[in-house]
C-alpha cells in the first residue's frame, strides 16, 4: 500500500518497551479505509499492547500513530469518539445491569446526545442479542454475554472504526459465528474493522486484510489473497511408474519431489499444471490422477508464526 492510500490506521516504527523488553518492535501497521483487518498472532505476540497504543491508553516508546488521520496519543480525545473499542476483554461494573453499564459509558461521552441515549442503548443491546438480558446485573452474565456487552459498548454511537481485541474469546461456536456475522454486517455499512485473534480460523472468513504478529514484529501484512498466494501449492499425481514421473518433475524444476506407493507429490513452484501434465504424458508416464492443491491460509499462518500456538516469550 502506498503512502497516500487513505488509511484508517497507520503506524510508523511503532515500538513499545517495558523495561528492557521490547513488546512491540518497529511495526508499520497499515489498515486501509473500509477494510476488515485481521490482526493475528499467538498470545503474547504484542497485539494487545499495539491496540492499547492505538487507543491512547499506553504511550509508545517510539514511532508514530495516526488513527483516522489524527495523531495518537497527542490528539486521541479528538478522534476516539469515532472509534469503538473492545480491549482485552470486557470490563463493567458488576453491580450494575447491562443497560445501566452502557448508560454509564454513554454519560461519559461528551459527543453523545442524552435525549437519544435510551434508544441507542436499546439498539446496541438488540444488535448483539442481549436485549432479553438487559436488566440483569453484569455479575450474573456468562462470559459470552459479557463479551457481547463489550461489543455493544462499541456500537452506542455511529463509528468509523471498530477495534475489537479477541471478540470471540469465550464464545461458543454459535456465538463466534454470530460475532463474525456482526463484523460482516458492520463492514457492509462502511465501517473499518480491526479485529484481533490468535485463531486464524475464527476470523479468516470475514477479513479482507491480514497482519500477522510474532514476537512483537509484524511479520506479514496485506490483502488476504496476496498472503494466501505466498503459500506454495502442491502437485499430487497417481501413476504406475512413480520413479519415471519423479524424473520428469525434477526435470521441470519441481522441488520436494517424493512418492509413497503410486502417489507422487511435489511443490508446484511456478509450474503450470497444464505444462506438467503435457510433460508427463510426453515423457511416457501414464497419469491416472492429477491435482494441484493450493496452500491454505492456515499453512501460511503457521509458517509465519511457528508451529502450534505457544505463548511467545
Amino acid at each position: 500500500m502506498s503512502e497516500d492510500t487513505p488509511a484508517a490506521i497507520r503506524t510508523r516504527d511503532l515500538t513499545k518497551e517495558f523495561g528492557r523488553h521490547r513488546v512491540v518492535d518497529s511495526i508499520d501497521l497499515a489498515v486501509p479505509d473500509g477494510a476488515v483487518y485481521g490482526f493475528l498472532g499467538p498470545n503474547g505476540s504484542g497485539k494487545t499492547t499495539t491496540i492499547r497504543m492505538l487507543l491512547g491508553l499506553a504511550r509508545p516508546t517510539g514511532g508514530e500513530i495516526s488513527v483516522l488521520g489524527v495523531p495518537v496519543p497527542d490528539r486521541a480525545p479528538d478522534v476516539l469518539g469515532r472509534v469503538g473499542a473492545l480491549v482485552e476483554g470486557p470490563a463493567f461494573h458488576p453491580q450494575l445491569t447491562g443497560r445501566a453499564n452502557l448508560a454509564r459509558l454513554d454519560a461519559a461521552d461528551a459527543g453523545s446526545d442524552p435525549r437519544t441515549a435510551a434508544d441507542r442503548i436499546d439498539a446496541a443491546l438488540r444488535r448483539v442479542g442481549l436485549h432479553q438480558a438487559r436488566d440483569k446485573r453484569y455479575r450474573v452474565y456468562s462470559l459470552g454475554m459479557k463479551q457481547r456487552l463489550g461489543i455493544a459498548a462499541g456500537l452506542l454511537v455511529p463509528r468509523d472504526l471498530l477495534i475489537l481485541d479477541e471478540p470471540t474469546n469465550g464464545l461458543d461456536p454459535q456465538g463466534t459465528r454470530e460475532v463474525r456475522h456482526l463484523i460482516g454486517s458492520l463492514a457492509a455499512e462502511g465501517i473499518t474493522v480491526l479485529v484481533s485473534s490468535h485463531l486464524l480460523s475464527e476470523i479468516e472468513q470475514v477479513c479482507t486484510h491480514l497482519g500477522v504478529m510474532r514476537d512483537g514484529r509484524l511479520v506479514a501484512q496485506g490483502p488476504i489473497d496476496e498472503l494466501r498466494a505466498r503459500g506454495r501449492a502442491t502437485l499430487r499425481l497417481v501413476t504406475a511408474d512413480p520413479d519415471r514421473a519423479g524424473e520428469v518433475l525434477r526435470g521441470l524444476g519441481a522441488e520436494d519431489v517424493d512418492h509413497t506407493g503410486q502417489t507422487v507429490t511435489a511443490t508446484a513452484g511456478g509450474l503450470e499444471p497444464e505444462a506438467v501434465v503435457a510433460a508427463l504424458v510426453g515423457g511416457g508416464v501414464g497419469v491416472r490422477e492429477f491435482g494441484v492443491r493450493a496452500a491454505s491460509l492456515e499453512d501460511v499462518f503457521i509458517g509465519l508464526t511457528g508451529e502450534g500456538f505457544d505463548v511467545s516469550g
Binding site: R52, L57, A58, R59, G89, Q95, A110
Partner: protein, 282 residues
Amino acid sequence: MSAAEAAPRAGLGAWWRLLGSELRLTLGRRRNQFGLLVLAALPVMIAVTIRISGAGGGHGPDFFSAITSNGIFVALAAISVELTLFLPLAIAVLAGDAIAGEAGLGTLRYLLTVPVPRTRLLLTKYAALAIGALEGVVVVAAAGVVAGGLAFGLPPMTTLSGTTIPMVEATGRLVLAVLYVSAGLAALAAVGLFISTLTEQPIVAMVATTGVAALMWILDSIPQLGWLHPWLLVHHWLAFGDLFRDPVFTDGIVRGLWLALGYIVVFLIAARTVFVHRDVTS
C-alpha cells in the same frame, strides 16, 4: 449518519452528565449506602447513651458536657468524634474507588476510550469526592440534630462562651461548621485521589489514605512536633468548634481553609501529572 458528522460538543452539560453518573454510581453501591448508615448511627448512639446514663461530668470534649442542654451538641460531638476515623475512612473508600477501583475493574480503559479526556475524568472524580465528603458530614449532622433534638430538645443554644443564641442562628452556624469540616475532608480526598492514581488496587489506596489521616492525627498529638502541627490537615479540623463561640473566633478556621486549599491544589496537580502520563495497563 457517519460518526464524523456527529460533532462533539463538550459543553457544561457534558460535565454535569458525567458528574451525575459518578454520583449515581457512588450512591448506588450497597457498600456506600451501608457506610452512610454507619456514619448516621454514631450520633444516634451518643444521644441514646447520654440520655440514658447522663452526661457524666467533665470528661471528653466540650460538646459532650453540653449535650444535655441542647440536642444540637449531639451533632457537633458526633462530627468531632467521627473526624478521627469514620469520616476519613469514608473518604478513603470513595477515593480508592475513584481511579484505582476503575483501573482494577478494567472500566478505566473503557472510560478513557469513550473518550473522556484524562483531566476531565480526574476533575469530575474529584468533584464527586468533594460532594461525597459533604454528604457524609451532612448525614452525621442531620442524624445528630434529629437524634439530639428528640433526646434533649432544641431550645435557644448556649454557646461555648456562655452567651445564648436563637435556634435559627445556631442552625446557620451548624451549616457553616458542616461546610468547614467538608472542606477539610475534601482536602484529604485530594490526597486520596492522588494515591488512587498510583495503583490499580483500590484496597491499597484505601489503606494508604486512611493511614495518612491516622498518621496526621498521631503526629498532631506529639507536643514535641509543635512546629509541624500547623501543616497537618487534621490539626485544624476541630476548629469548627470556634463557630460556636461568641463572638465567633475565625483565626483557626481561616488557617484551616487556607491549608485545605493548599493540599487540594498540590495533590490535584500531582494526581493529574501522574494520571495524564500513566499507561493504563489494566
